[in-house]
């Protein structure tokens, strides 16, 4: 592999990993704190993308307003879903949760079709982030993707600070260890759940907004990425933010180098990675024993 190819793939892997982290972190938090497997997390990603398309391209709102409105709308929607559908499922079997949240995926996908039709839409890259960085003739990299990687990294650091340094972060870490102990200490876990879930939904919506200009905005766009996000969560260890971060980077890097090194089986590379890690550490890299 040439050095230029190596560097570009490294950037690609980091950039893809950051996008995956935004989605996987919400997924792993929801599981860690609430014990809920939320397959419909990808719907927040999709709705974030659709709303920014609606606000920025159809209504022609200024971009910051469009993005903020989309995130707020998704958080509101997420809170309704959390209160109405997921909270009653907290103590239920995981299979029940999987079935119900899978049903939610279908409902949201169908809703997207009803509201925006079956056509494929897209959002534009904002003018200031268009174009590429020309490092050499062989190394050309889109500015937007660098921005995307940067945004992901900022979110990762912010999330780390919240989880490691704040009160809610301490409760989140404690809650992922044992929820009943947290309530025995006199902490009402309901609002904590809602807050964590809202945060996860906001991150997924942000990922959808950031991805909208490079992906297509179409019904079911969340379904493709949620599968990869689950791989990330399983590799990193369910419930661990650190695991989601390391897992996302690993998956991003293996995916982008796999496409160059093993082009014929590239789509299998990350699943092979997951299988190997699970053989070595059955609970994932940073997971706790059940």
């Amino acid at each position: 592999m040439q050095l230029s190819t190596f560097l570009i793939q490294l950037l690609n892997g980091l950039q893809y990993g950051m996008l995956l982290f935004l989605i996987a972190s919400g997924l792993t938090l929801t599981f860690g704190v609430m014990g809920i497997i939320n397959l419909a997390h990808g719907a927040f990603f999709m709705i974030g993308a659709y709303l920014v398309f609606q606000f920025a391209r159809i209504y022609e709102w200024p971009l910051p307003l469009a993005c903020a409105s989309a995130i707020v709308a998704v958080v509101v929607l997420g809170s309704i879903v959390e209160r109405a559908v997921l909270a009653p499922l907290v103590d239920r079997d995981h299979l029940d949760q999987v079935l119900v949240t899978y049903g939610l995926i279908l409902i949201f996908d169908e809703l997207a079709v009803v509201l925006w039709g079956k056509d494929v839409h897209a959002a534009e890259i904002p003018a200031m982030l268009r174009g590429s960085v020309h490092i050499s003739d062989m190394i050309v990299y889109p500015v937007y993707r660098l921005a995307l990687a940067g945004a992901g990294l900022v979110c990762a650091i912010g999330l780390y600070l919240i989880v490691a340094k704040t009160r809610i972060g301490m409760i989140v870490r404690a809650g992922s260890h044992d929820r009943s102990m947290v309530s025995a200490l006199g902490i009402n876990v309901g609002p904590v759940f809602a807050l964590v879930f809202g945060l996860g939904a906001a991150l997924a919506a942000l990922a959808g907004i950031l991805a909208a200009p490079i992906l297509s905005v179409s019904p079911g766009m969340g379904d493709k990425i949620i599968i990869i996000a689950f791989v990330v969560v399983v590799i990193g260890g369910i419930g661990s933010i650190k695991g989601a971060f390391v897992g996302a980077l690993l998956v991003g890097l293996f995916d982008s180098f796999g496409k160059v090194l093993f082009p014929t089986v590239s789509s299998l590379v990350i699943y092979a990675l997951m299988a190997l890690i699970l053989v070595w550490r059955p609970n994932g890299l940073f997971g706790k024993a059940a």
Partner: protein, 399 residues
Amino acid sequence: MTKDITFSRRTFTKAALALCGTAVTTATPLRYALGADPLKIGLILPYSGVYANFGEGITNGFEFALKKRGGQIAGRPVQVIKGDDQLDPKVGSEVAQKIVTRDNVDLVVGTVGSNVLPVLQKICTDNNKPLIVPTAAGNDTTRVQCHPLVFRVSHSNWQMTSPAGAWLFKRGAKRVMTMGMNYATGKEEVIAFSDEFKKAGGEIIDQKWPGLKELDYQAYFADVLAKQPDAMFTFFAGSNAVEFVKQYAQAGLKERVPLFGAAYLTDSTLLAAQGSAADGVITSGHYAPSLDNAANKKFLADFKQATGKDGDINSMHGHDSVEVVALGLEKTKGDIKDSAGLSQALQKVEFASPRGPFRFSRARNPIQNIYAIEAKGGQLRVIETIQKDVEDPTAECKV
């Protein structure tokens, strides 16, 4: 796990649909309240799933063409029975069984997915019902699988891209890289191109096959920059095509390695989403709304007037499906009982389609022109005719 999910998907689809009261139904009979002895046509298409917009477009064209004919074919009122195959062979088989044997339709129009077509074809031919294929383009349908009662109005995969091989070489591309979605259609279309390109003297320096679930093609692009081919030839469709075209342009590759592909790459339904990223992309295909011929102008104008929508490749396919059936049945005076006579009559159908002159080959695949189509400013422009009267090879068809 996968099995459970499939099961629950269906269960949930039903529950969710019942819940939302959304208007996707598995069978909506459209009754034309006319005299006795109606002609019953089964319309089996994907109305849900990734190719739902194909099903919708074909249906719009189909209903438009029927309305244009006063709801009658060869003097018989037409009753349409719709079914959603969900792009799933199992579902398609159940829907086809019901429509063919229980509703006992006279003929079937369907479908889009090459994966569903074989089961649909088997059920139709087993029951001696003519099948008009509006889209599914697998080469075998009109080669080894060819059948006197199976007529395709779209094209074969080979037909769409094979003429582009020699054409691109003549334009000056000597070293070409290809990328195609890793499934039967993607492979047939890209390989048809590659074979002809090599025959003409060109070199295929690399072929990449990203999966259907691929989201991000960026990781493939470093290799394109490193190998510096003269052109990139591709097959992508639907949302994958939007993602690929946008990412290709965003990576700054379009200016360095010109992008070519099968017409689905910049399908008119995708152009809005692709935006300026599609500008300058050239595809090979049998139809574009900008084709300059009388039949096309009339089709687009009438279609717009009747439906308020712009005609596209799918509505053209739906429209031509009705034309083929109508012109064939006019020859038999509405008789569909004599299979041999009907097969002959349909095979001899010739008309001025919006795509240009249309007639069937011995294998019952259209003989038609293939054009070079350029996307620019959200429009598709035919820049030249790559080859006239292209015929899919019929040697393997033993009819």
